[in-house]
Every structure is written in structure tokens, then in C-alpha cells.
Amino acid sequence: MTIETGRSDNLADLLRTGAAALTARWVELAAAPLRGRLSPAELERELSELYGALLSGVDSGARDVAAEPYAELRGQLADLSRRRARAGFTPSETAIAVFALKQALFEFVDRDDAQGGLREVVVFSQLLDALGLQTFETYAKAREEVIDEQAEQLLELTTPVVKLWDGVLAVPLVGTLDSARTQVVMEKLLEALVTTGAAHAIIDITGVLAVDTQVAQHLLKTVMAARLMGAECTISGIRPHIAQTIVALGIEFGDITTKSSLADALRHALRRSGVDVVTADRRG
């Protein structure tokens, strides 16, 4: 939106003279909806920076935020939005950083020059802002749902349960394991035991970078659940640093069979099901 009022100097003057009061009030208003999830000092630093960039933009006379004088402001806003998104703030909680300045400005102007009509405009403008935020909030939520669904589908794809031998299944786990993912994988493995009738399962964690207490517990519980169902479960490929984590976390692996490699685990499973792997004598 481009508005050339020709009174740019007035606005710039206003912002310059009121800088201290406006920034203080802005920080105050922007802090309220965040309920202490951001420190006041940090918020003040962010908003003071924004204020400076905004002032130099307004000072240039340009009123188009896409114009060159606002480049720095746009950059700062983009950074702020990204930080908020990563920290788990909602779109409204993020946008409030901008909208709160409007409120501060209205209050500031109102104090100097009270006009009856302005108050109503202010109230209505706030109502419109809230409505705008609401549509944005709904939109963002709908997008998130789509992303969640895709993440779920991806999870299904990236954690295959494979048959290594008659009666031997394996799940090779790769990457970072979180609690939710581990749970899904483990349920899938147990289901596969029923559908295939395999009495041995191998959970290979060679490709796993780290485990936390919860993930380790899920692995343990899966082995115990498999046992209750009448199947034997081996964990293979525990890297040295993961082994250290498990010990440090005080998790008891007890009588659960662990093997250093998938090959060892397979050999173990085969032996348990009565298959012996021998090297064929090719000379004779």
C-alpha cells in the first residue's frame, strides 16, 4: 500500500520527538500477550532496533514498505519473525510486535491532541487488526495440519520393517530418534510380528545418532512387549557413545540380547531358529 501524504516530515518529527516514550510504551504493550516468555530486556533491544530502522524509513519520505529505505526494517522484521516461529510463538503473538506500536502511537497522539473522531477510528482499527490476525491464525493452522500429515506419511515411508530371513524381521533405524517416532516404529514392528508370524526381530540402531531416556525406554519396552507376544527381539549396532549414554542414564538393559552388528544379530536369530550358517567348502 502506498500513501503519499506529503506530511512525511510531521510524522518523522513525531516519531523522533516521541521516541523514548513511544518505545517504552511499545515494549510494554508488546510484552503483555507474550506473558513473560521473552525477557523484557530482549524485547526492548529488538523493538528499539526496529524503531530506529522504522524512523529512518519514514524520514526518507517513502511510504511504500517495499521501497529501498525500508530494506533494513524488512530484514529486521524477517529475523524477528523467524526467531518467534522457532521459539514456538503463534502468528498473532509475532504480529503483535508490529501492531502494538500503532496503539502506542494512538495513545501518544491522543494525549497531545484529543479529538472525538480519532478515538472511534482507533477502536475500529484495533477491531480490524484483530480480525486480520484471526484469519491469519486460521490460515497458518490449516497449513500446519497439512505439514503434520505429510510428516506422518514420511514417517511411514522412512521406517520400513524388512524380512531378513524366514521368521526374522528387522527395522533399521536411521537419524534422530524422538519419542513419537520410536513409538510408531515399535508398534509397526510388533504388528509385523503378528502378520508374518516371525518369531525373531532385530532393531538395528547403527544409523541412530543419539538416544535420550525416553527413546531408550521405548526400545526396552518394545523388546519386553515382543517377548510377551512370544517373539525374541535383539538390538544391534549400538554405537559406543550411545552405549555410554544408556549407562549414564542408568537404564538397565537387563537380559536383553544386544549384538554389535546387524550381521551378528542375524546369525544369532538364525541359530536360535535352528539354522546354522557355514562356509561352503569349494575345494572338495
Partner: protein
């Protein structure tokens, strides 16, 4: 008050098979325990198979029945195998903290029979 649901006990060779197909009330559980003990002494069966593939929940009371049946049948030199436990039931039992004592488990009836055959061979009578 509904009548006690008596779970049919089949005899296959020297194995008794009880297939649980209904949502068990506590007194059905107790009745099954009694019926199995009687049938083991009457038939001299060397194994008991409890098929729970149709059971969608096992709580601590039902879990205790499995353990009790297993220890009772040991007194008559018979082994007990629980077969067909569903994954969701197994996960729940682990979370509940339940262990099944002397109960052996197998994925299905066939594997359960194989376990009993193996145990029978190891301890000839």
C-alpha cells in the same frame, strides 16, 4: 445378573486348548481357572494353551489368571502357553508393569504347540 460364561476347553492329544472369545467378567476368569484345573487332573494333559488372539484387553486381574493357571498346571506337571497376544495388549501390559511369571508365550497356536512338544521331549515321563 448374567450367567457365568463358560469358556469351552478342547482336548487335542494331551494338550488342552481354551480359546477366549468373549469380553471376560471376573467370575468367568475364575470359572476358567477352576475348569482348567479339573480338566488337567481328569485328562492328565501335559500342556495348556490359552488362545487370546480375540482378546482386546488384559488387565491385572486377567493377567493374574494366566500366572495362576500356569502355576496350578505346573503342580500337575503341565506347562502353560499363552498364544496370540495382540501388540496393543502387550504394550499395555509392559506399561502396566505386569509380568506373567511362569507363563510361556507364542505368536500363534502352531508355535504354542511346538513349544509344548519341545518341553514334553525334554522332560520325558
Amino acid at each position: 445378573m448374567s450367567a457365568v460364561e463358560r469358556i469351552p476347553i478342547l482336548k487335542i492329544g494331551d494338550v488342552l486348548l481354551a480359546s477366549i472369545q468373549v469380553d471376560l467378567q471376573d467370575r468367568d476368569v475364575l470359572a476358567l481357572q477352576e475348569d482348567l484345573a479339573e480338566k488337567i487332573t481328569a485328562t492328565g494333559a501335559h500342556g495348556v494353551i490359552l488362545d487370546i488372539s480375540a482378546v482386546d484387553i488384559v488387565d491385572s486381574f486377567i493377567g493374574r489368571m494366566f500366572a495362576t493357571i500356569a502355576s496350578t498346571s505346573r503342580l500337575f506337571d503341565a506347562h502353560t502357553v499363552v498364544v496370540g497376544m495382540r501388540p496393543a495388549v502387550a504394550i499395555t501390559l509392559v506399561e502396566l508393569g505386569l509380568t506373567l511369571g511362569e507363563v510361556r508365550t507364542a505368536l500363534d497356536l502352531e508355535k504354542g504347540l511346538a513349544i509344548l512338544a519341545e518341553l514334553g521331549e525334554r522332560a520325558p515321563r
